[in-house]
Symmetry: C2
Subunit: 86 residues, 2 copies
Amino acid sequence: MEVLKVSSRSVPNSVAGAICGVIRKGNSVEIQAIGAGATNQAVKAVAVARGFLEPEGIELICFPAFGQVTLNDEERTAMIITCEKR
Amino acid sequence: MEVLKVSSRSVPNSVAGAICGVIRKGNSVEIQAIGAGATNQAVKAVAVARGFLEPEGIELICFPAFGQVTLNDEERTAMIITCEKR
């Protein structure tokens, strides 16, 4: 499982490219986002990645969950969005 | 396909309950969210709904896409998160 950390300043198209790279290798990817802005960029990235992968016959699905991640030595609650090929 | 409109003031647990109601009936649900705050609440709601449905042996999956919705007579870009039983 590869991990991508997304912030509110992440560019959805770039994150989508990274998601596609992992999925095309046949792996799953876990997107970590802390806060509303980051979660929004993460969801946009998944939507863009779905569009990139669709013409290749790959359907991307995802499932969100809450998780704990460490940021600057602090424990924070993050949204963890796992993406995989259907 | 049932539609749930989520705003930044929506309570994730309540939205999750509504998602579960639709899924238990065997239907799919489309969550519409405009803006980062609303999208964040929508993703939280899906994460909570997954937790509600898991003990029932139901795995919830989702796929986000961009869509156009009309709000106050204005055309707006929304995140449309479709949820269904795996």
